[in-house]
């Protein structure tokens, strides 16, 4: 199997697995328990917190653990919106957010908040003039992702953070697709809240973190115990937190070198596809992107059919984001970038990872060319021949 869907999830790093094992076997105590057996688990959680803080350049107390990137996004967006309800009920986000932010904003709209969905350029970059124009006295939060899970396009979050800060408005960024991929200190971006997840950076599933700058107003979205300074109730997933910290330490340390390797592979992949298949459009190619991601549209061929064709050849890629697979609707991200419905329908996402080698890329290009040619032969919609 050739796995090229690392934006959906990544394999567990052997070092993360090794770090987790003691906490699944021997040290299974509850970190909140009042005896030494619990304290060992507590110490492991706090060490992990310090390591993650070190990896992103924050204070340990600014890291909250929770169960998923989606939960971190919910806590950030809903937690700030609810904390500042008396100050204003306007949120600003973008048209290309992940469902975790998008649907949280939609839910808040239904509860009486007003939300602005900023447009993006044809390259998939949020329009900063539209951002400036959208901000008002009622605006309490700007939430814009660091990089798109579908196209990999990196948003100008430092500039967005500066704009928000000048107006005294809080800024959250979903960095699930950049954490461990870009050699940047997430806490230095200028955002007040940053979400990132374990299983996207070779850690385990079921764990994520929310960076919350000291002093940021936030209320919990779940009621329960006082774990995570009262902001995230529920017994800590100790083994997963430990594995997350180990994986994050590796990923952030290797981000620069691995990023260069992946960018070279990805660029070569795209060049080979363009040479082998006519009628290809690469979304966001002219914008800064995370180094592992490629979003390709093939005229006259359907994305789901391409994915199945490659699957039958032993290659895992995705249409858009994994969450929308099986939906009839074409990607809202690609439509926001101005692709036609047919172009969006003909799109796949290829995302490389630490095990990807040149031979995998070459085999994928061959299978892709064959699959697209076959589908175009069947297709009633005009694509390119050849």
């Amino acid at each position: 199997m050739i796995y090229l869907d690392h934006n959906a999830t990544t394999p567990l790093h052997p070092r993360a697995l090794a770090a987790m094992e003691p906490f699944l076997r021997e040290c299974w105590g509850n970190p909140s328990s009042p005896y030494r057996f619990g304290s060992e688990a507590r110490a492991a959680v706090e060490l992990a917190r310090a390591r993650i803080a070190g990896a992103i350049g924050s204070e340990p107390a600014e890291i909250l653990f929770c169960a998923s990137g989606t939960e971190a996004d919910n806590l950030a967006v809903r937690g700030v919106a609810c904390a500042l309800r008396s100050c204003g009920k306007h949120l600003v986000t973008s048209a290309i957010e992940h469902q975790a932010v998008w649907n949280t904003c939609r839910a808040l709209e239904a509860e009486g908040h007003r939300v602005t969905y900023l447009p993006v350029s044809p390259d998939g970059v949020v329009d900063l003039e539209a951002l400036e124009a959208s901000l008002g006295a009622e605006t309490v939060l700007v939430t814009i992702m660091h990089a798109s899970n579908e196209t990999g396009v990196v948003q100008p979050v430092e500039e967005i953070a500066a704009i928000a800060r000048r107006r005294g408005i809080l800024f959250h960024t979903d960095a699930v697709q950049t954490a461990g991929k870009l050699p940047v200190q997430l806490a230095a971006l200028g955002a007040d809240l940053v979400s990132f997840s374990g299983h996207k950076l070779y850690g385990p599933k079921g764990v994520a973190a929310l960076y919350v700058r000291a002093g940021t107003p936030l209320v919990p979205v779940m009621t329960g115990g006082t774990q995570e300074r009262g902001l995230r109730a529920g017994t800590e997933n100790v083994a997963a937190i430990v594995g997350f910290a180990e994986a994050a330490a590796v990923a952030f340390a290797e981000a620069a070198a691995e990023g260069r390797r992946l960018a070279a592979l990805r660029d070569r992949f795209e060049a080979e596809v363009v040479a082998a298949v006519a009628g290809v459009r690469i979304s966001g190619a002219r914008a800064p992107r995370v180094p592992n991601t490629s979003s390709l549209s093939f005229a006259g061929a359907d994305g789901e059919s391409i994915v199945l064709g490659l699957d039958l050849a032993g290659i895992c890629v995705s249409t858009g984001s994994a969450c929308s697979t099986g939906d009839a609707a074409p990607s809202h991200v690609l439509l926001a970038m101005g692709l036609s419905a047919h172009e969006a329908q003909g799109s796949i996402r290829v995302s490389l990872g630490r095990d990807t080698r040149q031979a995998d890329i070459d085999a994928t290009v061959r299978a892709l060319a064959e699959t697209v040619a076959r589908l175009r032969h069947i297709s009633s919609v005009r694509g390119e021949t050849g």
Partner: protein
Amino acid sequence: MANESDPDAGSLEGMPGPVLFYNDVVLDHFLNPRNVGELSAMEADGYGLVGDPLCGDQMKLWIAVREGRIARIAFKSFGCPGAIATSSMLTALAEGKTITEARNITDDDVVAALGGIPEKKKHCSLLGVRALQAAIDDWERRRHASAEPR
């Protein structure tokens, strides 16, 4: 690990969510669709073009009718694996049938002939049925418009 004492273990049948599984018959029709192509204006007695506005799938279908039977049928489809496989099976079912028999082919017939398709893909099977109906309608229009009966 599937556990034989638990009838639900290891089965994804009826699972909610986006997981899509296609059986071998569907995969065969996806990989080797029957009757792909076009009939020329000289060859075709009826033509149908239908689109599914929900998902953007599209199908073109041509028929040649001899002595009240579908002598030749050809199609082209743009769409998901479900659309391709059901289009292919529809043409396989219709080939050689009388016009009346062909008219009576339903989306359920297509799904049954494929041995089932994922719930989310059932609407795809309407695409071929509607394209065939449109081609037969076209054939009937041409027949009535024509001075000479075929």
